[in-house]
């Protein structure tokens, strides 16, 4: 005890811990840190005084790997493994970046298929996000209902490109496969199957009073703070900022579809609370279904491999491309030195940036709220640590 009194304990940021405070390590092995995030909590009883996130436990040297690849194509499987529950979005952003460097225009059919799969992936990813969020709050059953629907989406993926999780489906200039026969019907069937399920989630979880009480007015992230911290995706929209790259910095063929950007309105609490972030995801799923239906109806014919270049050797230069992934803005900064190997690839992953705002909104909350807030930011550690 004596040494504690003479040499005060400090957190890793150098903050001195007061006598009534306690440091609690939440993670890296903890049920609700969604992987291997470690949160160093300074708690005073149940109240959280400070949160210091520690990341890097899942660092797989993505950027270093990319520099060691022999060609640009080989990076795509690594991109998949960044955000492994929304792999298509990672691929798409990278592929777009290289296409921009090369100046390739992909056929219309490719764009339509990409939109369909990106939106299917968005639904699958949001299902995981909402399901695990329910799990964080203590509701187990919605999680499994959502996984049930996600399986059907993964079936669609599997029949198209052969993989369920890490697809390597979008290639530079095209796609690895065209749609399989019968895909359009199955996708349409999924859309009509999925719509009513959203009501079930709302009945069971979203509007459940206990869930509302746990999430409303908790972890409020005001819109301007969210922008300053670079938060994107559902986290930003949950804070009431009407911002979606699919509409505001349109890429691919998104400007051909009619849909709405879901924005948090503070329906049951304050704008920017956990419930809003959660609800934005639920509403986005509905909008994604709308986009998919339009894309399926307007699918043009064409060859998906016609624009795939034989050799990929971009001119020296750099490019930054950002797209709207399930968790926010995924940006790839690709530098080429004119060789067949990427010179430098930096991934600006949405969860990494969203997570940096976590301490800001956790201070003063309770331990159970930290779980609720961390769950509502919907981080995937594969992408935080890369």
């Amino acid at each position: 005890m004596a040494e504690v009194l003479t040499a005060p304990l400090k957190t890793s940021t150098g903050r001195t811990i007061r006598r009534e405070e306690m440091v609690l390590n939440m993670g890296p092995q903890h049920p609700s840190t969604h992987g291997v995030l470690r949160l160093e909590l300074v708690v005073d009883g149940e109240i959280v005084v400070d949160v210091i996130p520690h990341i890097g436990y899942l660092h797989r040297c993505f950027e270093k790997h990319c520099e060691a690849m022999t060609n640009y194509q080989q990076v795509i499987p690594y991109c998949d493994r960044m955000d492994y529950v929304a792999a298509i979005h990672m691929e798409w952003s990278y592929v777009l970046a290289v296409e921009k460097l090369l100046g390739i225009q992909v056929p219309e059919r490719v764009e339509y298929i990409r939109v369909i799969f990106a939106e299917l992936q968005r639904i699958a990813s949001h299902l995981i996000a909402a399901g695990t969020y329910g799990l964080d709050i203590g509701a187990f059953t919605p999680f499994l209902y959502m996984f049930r629907e996600r399986e059907r989406i993964l079936d669609l993926f599997e029949m198209t490109c052969g993989a369920r999780l890490l697809y390597n489906y979008f290639w530079i200039g095209g796609l690895s496969h065209d749609l399989p026969p019968g895909f359009i019907d199955k996708a349409k069937a999924f859309c009509s199957y999925f719509r009513p399920k959203i009501k079930e989630y709302n009945d069971l979880l979203s509007y459940n009073e206990i869930f509302v009480k746990r999430t409303a007015n908790v972890g409020v992230l005001p819109g301007d703070v969210a922008i300053a911290y670079g938060a994107t995706g559902p986290m930003l929209r949950g804070s009431g900022v009407n911002w979606d790259l699919r509409r505001d910095d349109p890429y691919s063929v998104y400007n051909k579809f009619q849909w709405e950007v879901a924005v948090g309105k503070g329906e049951v609490g304050t704008v920017g609370d956990c419930w809003d972030r959660y609800m934005v995801r639920i509403r986005e799923m509905e909008q994604s279904i709308t986009i998919i239906e339009q894309a399926l109806a307007g699918m043009p014919e064409g060859d998906v491999a016609s624009a795939i270049p034989k050799r990929i050797r971009p001119n020296p230069g750099d490019v930054y491309v950002r797209t709207e992934a399930a968790r926010g803005e995924i940006g790839f900064y690709v530098v080429s030195d004119g060789s067949a190997t990427p010179y430098r690839i930096k991934a600006r992953s949405p969860s990494f940036v969203n997570l940096s705002a976590l301490p800001e909104i956790c201070r003063g909350a309770m331990i159970a709220d930290v779980v609720a807030i961390a769950g509502s930011t919907d981080i995937v550690l594969g992408e935080v640590d890369r």
């Binding site: 911002w243 940006g331 890369r386």
Partner: protein, 159 residues
């Protein structure tokens, strides 16, 4: 505003600070600025009403070779929906760039990452620790001259 106009606006205000600007003929227009003017330009970009670049999308450290390290700032405005790319180059032996973490809090972790992987010291950063790698990792792996150590705490590194 187009990147041409933004570039002109910066040039008007900080003429000599701009080292290089490419706004046409490249997939991503950029403005290369001197490190000592970075903070002023950043504040200008953020606070000027018709620029209003309130969001730092990305901050990438790059080993540009030839003994130079660089940081690339991709900045966007949510109100005007335009983007700016700033580039800063510093020599590797004295890799110090002023931090913009107080201008855009988003830069905090990005700068830590660039410090961790490239080895750029961001002066004035509130909490410049390694973020992805272990605290005692030798060197900065994304530098082109980085050699992977044989052993780390008795564990063989390249397997």
């Amino acid at each position: 505003m187009t990147s041409q106009q933004i570039c002109e606006k910066i040039r008007e205000r900080f003429g000599p600070a701009i080292r290089e600007a490419k706004t046409e003929g490249v997939p991503n227009p950029f403005v290369s600025v001197a490190p000592e003017n970075l903070r002023d330009i950043s504040l200008f970009l953020r606070d000027e009403a018709d620029l209003a670049c309130d969001s730092l999308m990305c901050l990438s450290g790059v080993d540009s070779g030839k003994g130079m390290l660089g940081a690339v700032y991709h900045i966007a405005s949510t109100a005007h929906r335009h983007t700016v790319t700033l580039k800063v180059q510093v020599p590797a032996e004295k890799a110090e760039i002023p931090s913009v973490a107080d201008i855009w809090p988003a830069a905090n972790w990005h700068e830590r990452e660039a410090y961790d992987l490239i080895g750029i010291t961001f002066t004035g950063h509130p909490d410049l620790r390694r973020i992805l790698l272990p605290d005692d990792w030798p060197g900065h792996p994304l530098r082109k001259d980085f050699k992977v150590p044989e052993f780390y705490h008795g564990m063989k590194v390249p397997y």
